[in-house]
Amino acid sequence: MKKLLVLAWVLMSFVPDALANPDTAELKKVVTPPKTIKTVSAVFPPEGYTPAGGIEVVLKITVKADGTVSDITIVKSGGDLFDKAAETAVMQWTFEPAMFEGKKIAVKITVPFKFPERLKPADPKGGKNGDVVKPGKDGKNGDVVKPGKDGKNGDVVKPGKDGKNGDVVKPGKDGKNGDVVKPGKDGKGDGKTPAVKPDGKNANKPQGKDPHEGHDHGTYHDHGKKLKTDIVVTGVLKKQKTTSNAEFQISGKVLQITTKKSGGDMLTVAPGLYIGHPQGEGIANTIFLRGFNAEHGQDFEIKAGFIPVNLPGHIHAQGYADMHFIMPEIVDSITVIEGVYDVTQGDFAVAGSAIFNYGVRRRGTNLFLTLGSYNTMKLGLVFAPRGQARDTFAAAQFSETDGYGDGNRASLSAKAMGRYHFCIDEKTHIIMHIGGYGGRSVLPGILRLDDIRAGLVDFYGTYSYPTARAQSGFFTRFETGASLIRYLQGDGEKITFNTYIFRTDSRLRQNFTGFMLWYADQPDLKGAGDLHQQTNTATTMGGDFLYESGNTKILSLPGMFRIGMSIRSDFVDQKEDLIFPAQNMIWRHVTDAAIQMNDIGLYADMRVGVMKYLSARAGFRADALAFQINDELANRQYNVPVEQNYLLGYKRDAMGFAYGPRATIEAGPFFPYKKKGGLSIVTSYGEGFRSPPPRSLQDGERAPFAKVRSFETGVKYVPGTLGEIKVAGFYTYLSNDYVYNPVTAMTRSIGDTERYGAMISAIAKPMKNLLFSGSFTYSRGVLRSSPLATAENPTPGEKKGDLIPYIPLFVGRGDASYGRKIISFRGGDLVATAGFGYTFLGKRPLPYAQWSEPVHLLDMKVELSWKNVTFKIDISNLAGAKWHDMELNFISQWNPDVPTSLPQRHVVAGAPRLFMGTLGIVF
């Protein structure tokens, strides 16, 4: 019996558990693939015949940690005879096992066997010699067909065209087995026997998506021939995680379906999350999520890489998080947790948290220029040296625009970031990081809706008073940091140490209320105008330490545990003045304070596989926060001559603890789809906190943290590689909530609140080149009781069950893209891609029984790429909707002759239809 030449390639890929810090999780992707030690050729079945072109059998096997083969499944059948021959051969193979984090691991790979053409002799009743027997559906020889080419023994068969074997699939239950992806190089037979050879088309170039992909040269022996084959590690393997249903990994592919103008805009893809644009680049986005009005970040913790973005104690809003320094071009994915279920979530993780994971997949030097509506210009450069890790890059971008309106949204910005990921040895990785940003915008202000309707001011305009035209925003950020990851002896055991320092400087000049503010001790300055100037300079330094046990035993059960701590210190100088716009003359000092805050967080959790279909993660986090406030203008008493009786100023300190458990239980997966994925039931509970605005604290006060309790239960269904569907219901309780008060430009307490709702989300790749991501969330935020009485409002009008204003009850988002090759031209494929993004905002409840109109927005992107050149057109707000990005009800007095003191609807005009064209070149 003739032996067949076996040529094989092995591909595999892994990304171990990306638990807390995606940056460090990236490092886990370094995997040494298995190498063949012994291969045995498959024997061509003597009774077997093939159709023209031969038959291919693809097997999926597990290469165990000891190098032997087990768990053979047939991915592609060639009929019983050929399947059996392939299985018999592969069972005799041995490998050097795959290595991961210094340990031998089991992986799954696919091995294709190609049986060359062997035509069945002609049917004596009608067929002729040379006719080919066409296999039936079951792979058996079937109909007689016309002969094809000569199928002599020993012919070298060309590799197949499909690259299906490279598909990435879900990991096995044990969290170790990886699936095999792309094939390796071609090989040749011995020229005498029918050759079984791998499908080598895809081996021409690495298909890796991972910067850490290794290029190992596996050696395969067959009949004394030594064939060198590239083994490409690619794709993704995820270890089993017990994560809340509210955790979403938003991939770069989904983020890029439509072009996102800023880091904040990228978050719109997260289910239930709406990003408001309060006027321009010089001011942070507002965030709405699951019934929370997170303001500028007070209820939403954000990290970019391993560096926090929120600024505690910011004068404009607690947790102020300006994301404009983040370039969408260097964000590889975003991890969003809606709720507080992971112990790594710290201060401000009330509605949830997000981590921007840096990375550039398309390596090389990418130079791009964007030109568009309202004289928008953006010039950018992303340098991502080939052969380096995905998160090694340098990027910069300059942009400017007149903005829509009458020049009242003009802005300039510049941002740059550099990141270098290198290895000292195979177990020690270091990431160095530096970034800078500067941006300035003219701000249009917030307009009264009755004035717009009366034609007193244009929808996109600004009041004509100097105090209104002088509104602007300015923000700078400089940051640097380093991350050290050391892999230890255990399977996945490692230590991560991050440290960072950053400095921010913000200045806001805003007048929301016109000419309303006055002070009894300055009667002559009534009507001077309410132009607030807020400055906030903060220097923050801190770091994180995290130990991860990797796979181990906990009470004889498989599991892992983590122990970590975070330390952070903020030094803030802040001032608020009321100013005349001319020459920036100050007519009233409102705030002049220096604040120091320290936050020490300790946390630990463990994950245990209780039984086959039940796993649990439980942990605890405790934070200690200390505040020192030097409030230079405190203790002011009206009508008491300051100089004669006392001096202004109030120094104080306060401290408090916040702690709580976090746990998730997952049952499943049941009902796997094609032996992958399946249906899981996930329930989570967690307690988190938000630190108080420092200047609200009294001396010696035990810092009254806002306490959040989140609960969520739902199901997720992962139908193999087709995508993911999640359905969940959630409830959140929050003590000591705050809402923004436009009159004072600060937040005010509204007491305890709660939210409940439900969401459905789906990511699907139903067919090649088609990608869909969508979600729909209903949430309802209500008061638990009436707000506390104050002297100004001893009988608050709000009561238990009243809706918290401004938060859309329904938020929907859908993104879809489709791309395909149009034509081959001059050695390159012209590929066209179209993407659409649809946003739905339901009616937003406003104070005083008002409701805003629902919003429908459609964005579109069309991209053409050929070789290294890309051209794309982006149209945002395709339908040209005239919509309100934000609405606020408050008292303002913009018309000096109308002495009204009643609240009115105020709106921020949403962006009109905008066109942008971008030309990019990668070299």
Binding site: P523, E792, N793, P794, G797
Partner: protein
């Protein structure tokens, strides 16, 4: 699919209901007079019979703040404005009729204090106080009547313009006033007793005038007595119905 769509439509249309706590309200303001308040005896023994007591009412602001008399600046705090009538109209508080003098626009809630004027306001944007009513030729009040004491009798016609004395201030600031305004409120009634306006007026002094009909001149003692009589003694009473 059909049921899914129906359920979705049901949810979307039924789940976006609710209130944020307070509602906008609007209701008429009635001035209510009482002819029984025409006669009284002054402190200095004069029997006074009023024939008319016209007073301009407005603007009015209803507030959530509880005035704290020991803290002067608290009298300037309104807290949340729960009602606002920006117009002004004259009314004779000795008539037995009632008329609508304006519309109160506001929001629901518990009112604890009020700020108001008598036809003159001084906004922060204005260089001086201005009249917002032409009803009494830009005056705030015109009070006519006669006074008798022993054998002496004289007629009087008291005219006065009551102006805020500081920019941004109301004439009457932060006086107590309780009212629970709900969406069921149909009207606000305003009452005042003209006898209180003249409570501190010295009719002895007034009677010394040489004119047929005596009046008061700004800056005089009588004028001051009348001024404080109206803004302090004869404060408006508000009743929500």
């Amino acid at each position: 699919m059909r049921y899914f769509i129906l359920l979705s439509v049901f949810l979307i249309t039924s789940c976006d209901e609710g209130t944020t706590g307070q509602d906008f309200v609007s209701y008429p303001v009635y001035a209510v007079g009482n002819s029984q308040n025409a006669a009284f005896t002054s402190d200095d023994g004069w029997t006074v019979n009023l024939s008319s007591a016209e007073l301009v009412i407005g603007s009015i602001k209803m507030c959530s703040h509880v005035p704290a008399l020991f803290k002067e600046d608290s009298l300037r705090e309104c807290g949340q404005v729960l009602g606002e009538m920006t117009t002004a109209k004259a009314f004779d508080f000795l008539s037995d009729s009632e008329i609508i003098i304006g519309t109160m626009n506001g929001i629901t809630g518990q009112i604890h204090s009020t700020f108001y004027n008598h036809g003159w306001i001084w906004l922060t944007s204005q260089g001086e106080s201005v009249s917002i009513s032409d009803d009494l030729d830009s005056l705030s009040a015109i009070i006519t009547g006669s006074a008798t004491k022993d054998a002496s009798e004289f007629d009087f016609e008291l005219e006065i313009a009551l102006k805020p004395n500081r920019k941004g201030d109301d004439l009457i600031s932060g006086i107590g006033c309780e009212g629970n305004v709900t969406t069921a409120v149909q009207r606000l009634e305003v009452r005042s007793d003209p006898r209180q306006w003249l409570r501190k007026l010295s009719f002895d002094l007034l009677s010394s005038c040489d004119d047929d009909v005596c009046g008061v001149n700004e800056g005089t003692t009588a004028w001051n007595s009348l001024f404080y009589g109206i803004v302090q003694g004869g404060q408006l009473e508000f009743t929500w119905k």
